[in-house]
């Protein structure tokens, strides 16, 4: 393999390596695994990547992202070498123009890249798709998502208060990655629905605001469950952004069983939410936005989704509990979900 190009700093030990990275703002605030040349080289070799291979080019500032820097971020984040292809596929996806990487990185709106992993790679990496799926506890879920943030920080300059102008941000900016529970779902996997061959390993990435949990454990009617998700989306349209785009919903097993018993596919759920997640501008008056409601026709109806296809339906979560989540888009259609195969 070609030698690595990154400058090297000599430090006393792993503790001092972390101190150096913390002092220089090269981490997200959490400690890092020291990226030494042998470890980074091993990651690149495992993934069959040359250090200078360009993983992607950020479309606005034209930053070319070399594999070496992605591997450094993956080591720092605590990844194992076999996670690197998932990180690389996600960076590639985030560099597609429709993802709008510059905008989602820089915006006061403060979104995070949310990654859904499909296919056999979920099992080979031991990813979590069940208990506490939006929370802590799974090394691949946690470190793959974190590696993306470290690339944004160190390679793209997405430094809070500098290029990253987020007013709040949200906890998903540390890491936000899960696997879909394909084995325990009656539905097509997300990536398959979005055009990947069945059985392929793939990621889907979407810039999202913080997840909002919904709860409905008091019905066996699929339409009732769909109404609960739609209501949370309507609330987001009024209190956050009225603009249509890719929303995601995470649907736990208890809800999936109700849909499955009634014969509802993901498509049926999408169509129901498309019909029900609508607000009029006039409703802005109920949430303190009277000043802008009359700027256009107040009776005009806004849909959360441009079409039913805009809704990403993800089967994940623990086996018990009627708790799902909606994940709102950063800013309507200004950033769209991207699906990519994983070269493993």
């Amino acid at each position: 393999m070609e030698p690595l190009q990154s400058h090297q700093y000599e430090v006393a030990d792993a503790f001092e390596a972390n101190e150096l990275f913390q002092r220089n703002g090269w981490t997200d605030g959490l400690p890092i695994v020291p990226p030494t040349e042998p470890i980074v080289a091993h990651f690149l070799e495992s993934a069959g990547l040359a250090p200078d291979a360009i993983v992607g080019i950020e479309p606005v500032r034209r930053r070319r992202i070399p594999a070496e820097k992605v591997a450094i971020a993956a080591v720092m984040a605590g990844c194992r070498p076999e996670y690197l292809p998932v990180v690389v596929a996600t960076i590639k996806a985030m560099c597609e123009p429709e993802f709008g990487l510059h905008g989602v990185t820089a915006s006061t709106g403060g979104s995070a890249p949310f990654v859904v992993v499909n296919g056999p790679v979920r099992l080979s990496l031991g990813m979590n798709a069940t208990h506490n799926v939006l929370g802590n506890g799974s090394r691949p879920n946690a470190t793959i998502g974190r590696a993306l943030r470290l690339v944004i920080l160190n390679v793209l300059g997405g430094i809070p208060g500098q290029l990253d102008r987020s007013t709040l941000g949200h906890p998903g900016k540390f890491t936000f990655c899960l696997a879909e529970d394909e084995e325990d779902s009656p539905w097509l996997p997300l990536a398959t629905e979005r055009g990947m061959p069945p059985g392929a390993s793939a990621i889907t990435v979407l810039a999202v605001e913080s997840p909002h949990q919904v709860m409905n454990e008091w019905t066996h009617e699929p339409r009732d469950i769909a109404e609960t998700y739609a209501a949370a989306i309507r609330a987001n349209m009024l209190t956050y952004s009225i603009w249509a785009g890719n929303y995601a919903v995470v649907v736990p097993k208890q809800h999936r069983q109700i849909f499955a018993e009634a014969g509802w596919s993901k498509k049926d759920l999408r169509e129901c939410v498309y019909e029900r997640a609508r607000v009029s501008r006039r409703e802005w008056r109920t949430v303190g936005k009277s000043a802008v409601a009359p700027r256009k026709d107040e009776d005009a109806v806004y849909t959360a989704l441009r079409s039913p296809d805009d809704l990403l339906v993800i089967a994940a979560g623990g086996p018990a509990g009627g708790f799902g989540a909606i994940l709102p888009p950063w800013y309507g259609r200004k950033s769209l979900a991207v699906t990519k195969g994983i070269d493993a």
Binding site: Q8, E10, V11, W26, L150
Partner: protein, 93 residues
């Protein structure tokens, strides 16, 4: 026994992205106002423009509005602002 760690940044030297030195005075200056295309910005800049002219003796103001609040300003628009001695560019609304 020490260890060597790799620099995680793309360009350790950094890029030329510093703010220009402030003007000694705004008197007689040409000031650019870059509008981020959000709802309240135009009104805010109306007020700012009046202040700049009346209280600070600004000679001329060039105002340009981005076509899209969530995307960078196009190069030709920035070119039109390049004649200014100082530019105000804001975020948020």
């Amino acid at each position: 026994m020490t260890i060597k760690v790799l620099d995680p940044r793309l360009s350790p030297e950094g890029e030329a992205a510093r703010l220009a030195a402030p003007l000694a005075s705004l008197d007689g200056a040409l000031v650019g106002l870059l509008d981020n295309a959000k709802i309240g910005t135009a009104r805010f800049y109306d007020h700012l423009e009046a202040m700049l002219r009346e209280r600070f003796g600004v000679r001329e103001v060039i105002r340009r509005r981005k076509p899209d609040s969530s995307r960078p300003a196009p190069a030709d628009l920035l070119g039109e602002l390049s004649a200014a001695d100082a530019i105000v560019s804001g975020i948020g609304d």
